[in-house]
Symmetry: C2
Subunit: 367 residues, 2 copies
């Protein structure tokens, strides 16, 4: 007979973040104590657990050969995201023409930008140019940095009521004084071409369901894997980073494709040990050179979502973009890898165009 | 200069399910070919990938000592789910009384049952009895096996319009002719005490958001871990099974608590290798004795959600309930383990009562 032990849950429960936790910079909770009265159950509200994933910065901004890659030979095929994205955009363009000729309509995308962050302005300009390329009508609402929530919601609802707009996106991040979550909740799932609405996210997560839109970057990652002939089902995949925009939906999407998924984040101890078991690594931590060559299983497929500006006096603007992966090392260990730039970036925009086209097709029942 | 290779995505893409995939019984897709015209992007609809997780049945229904546990000594503390659930129910009862005395209202739970499956009837009876214990008003709509979708939706909307009903649950599984997804979509998230609505699931998944309700079994699992003083943040957790009801929300919830989560399913090759790295194992595969002693890391905490009826001539009804874990082996390897029965089961019902109370408190703004 096995003794049953009533566990000492009265004695205060600790949600400790292990100090050794690699890249973890602060504790999730100092102490989580059981209240003798209310609340009935002691689980804290989930938002009370939400802490930014602050990764420890990597010492080397440009990295060097890791032990695992003794040779200087490149083994990896470079997955050319620009090439694949161009192929997709060509097809989208022909579909848009077919729609215009068939029913006299074109898809419409509206972008709302608040403030003048340089990176946001660049992203928006690139999206507009891509829309123009394929014949999608695009419009931008540029709001001042200090705009009120009501001004933002006003812009949203005017686009929402415009039947020529089939997709609306709010360029993130928003200034501190605006609550992204509350803003995105107002955006109808039917026009949520970014796929960030919780209803679309829930339908992405749940088997047997289909979201109206899959977030663009995760969709682009899977697209590159599929078009590169990479087997996903039954393979081990490690996703590094768990943001609502990339890491989370990528892990959900890989799982819908029957990968065995592990999610690494800033609280993960020894992330390299989990990463080096993966056949597929998707990294979206936003930490330059976080993933070294010796983090990778030889032959792994590496999708690098990171686009981190690092100083580079030799480059025109004094900085260059680098991924989360130490490319020079990884390219000698992986079987295939996406470059930064020219990998995931172009795919994200192509998927945005694809989502906008799909939305217009749905609205007009155009097949 | 690294050569860029345009990958041969024209040559037909294969989404193969590896034949060696443990417990995987059929292929997700025979061939996934790229169409030269539409669709624009070749990713298939996600639902077209959905295949039941058919686990290979385990040979032994009663299992024996595994290599890792040479001694016959029990090392594991038994996490007494019934004890913890009783504690929670006592507190819920006092809260219900406080509400009744304070505002003259009590929480109300409505259950809709279709057909007469023996297990469903038992579950519903247990839920009703638990409601009675704590003073929650409960009502059941029993519909015939062959009821139409409209009859079911009619029952749903009548409960939905009843202000004395704060929680509605549809007992699953539904008969084949009724689409669970479509039915659950009709249930308003505000009364979705099971937490199965995609909007609640999306808000469970996304950091910075709070679902109105967390699914009862996953919430019960976390509750047992927290009340047992088990550290979650920064620990490795493996969830076995990815159902919308248990596996998926459990993995999302563990991640919100900052565990490093891996999800094992029927397509996973060598699931034991992933499981034996975990500090916390939650298993919800529905396969008796799937998890052997040698699947576990010594000192792991094991939460066994499985409740599988197996033949047992010696027992009163000719069968007994067993978990997914080979208990006799695991109890010698783990540091803590939940028994079946008497582990997760009682917690699930306690969390349902807790969700129903929370819903009523929200409606009446009762704190």
């Amino acid at each position: 007979m096995i003794p049953r032990v009533a566990l000492p849950w009265r004695n205060g429960l600790r949600l400790r973040v292990p100090s050794g936790s690699r890249g973890c910079c602060r504790s999730a909770h100092n102490t989580l104590r059981n209240d003798d009265g209310r609340p009935i159950v002691i689980s804290p509200p989930l938002v009370s657990l939400d802490i930014p994933d602050d990764w420890a910065p990597c010492p080397a901004h440009s990295c060097f050969s890791s032990p695992i890659s003794s040779s200087n030979e490149q083994t990896a095929t470079v997955i050319d995201g620009k090439f694949i994205a161009d192929e997709i955009k060509t097809r989208i363009g022909s579909e848009v023409r077919r729609m215009k000729e068939g029913i006299g309509m074109v898809p419409g995308l509206a972008v709302i930008v608040v403030g003048y962050r340089r990176d946001s302005q660049t992203y928006v300009r690139n999206k507009m140019m891509a829309c123009a390329e394929v014949g999608i009508k695009s419009m931008v609402a540029q709001l001042p940095e200090d705009c009120t929530k009501d001004q933002l919601l006003g812009a949203l609802s005017s686009f929402d009521g415009d039947p020529s707009v089939h997709g609306i996106l709010v360029q993130l991040p928003l200034p501190q004084h605006l609550d992204e979550g509350k803003v995105l909740d107002v955006l109808r799932p039917e026009k949520d071409v970014d796929g960030f609405h919780p209803l679309n996210m829930g339908n992405l997560a749940m088997r047997g369901r289909e979201p109206l839109f899959i977030p663009c970057t995760p969709k682009g990652c899977i697209e590159m894997l599929l078009r590169s002939g990479v087997e996903i089902a039954g393979r081990k995949a490690t996703v590094i980073g768990r943001s609502n925009i990339v890491g989370l939906p990528t892990s959900l999407l890989l799982q819908r494709h029957h990968a065995t998924v592990s999610i690494v984040h800033a609280f993960t101890k020894n992330p390299e040990l989990i990463t080096c078991e993966a056949d597929i690594v998707v990294t979206a931590a936003g930490v330059p050179n976080l993933v070294r060559g010796n983090w990778l299983k030889p032959g792994a497929v590496v999708i690098d979502v990171g686009t981190n500006p690092v100083e580079d006096p030799s480059s025109e603007h004094g900085y260059r973009l680098t991924g989360d992966v130490c490319y020079e090392e990884a390219v000698r260990v992986a079987s295939a890898i996406t470059p930064v730039p020219g990998g995931v970036g172009p795919m994200t925009i192509a998927m945005l165009l694809s989502n906008t086209l799909d939305s217009a097709k749905r609205v007009y029942a155009f097949t």
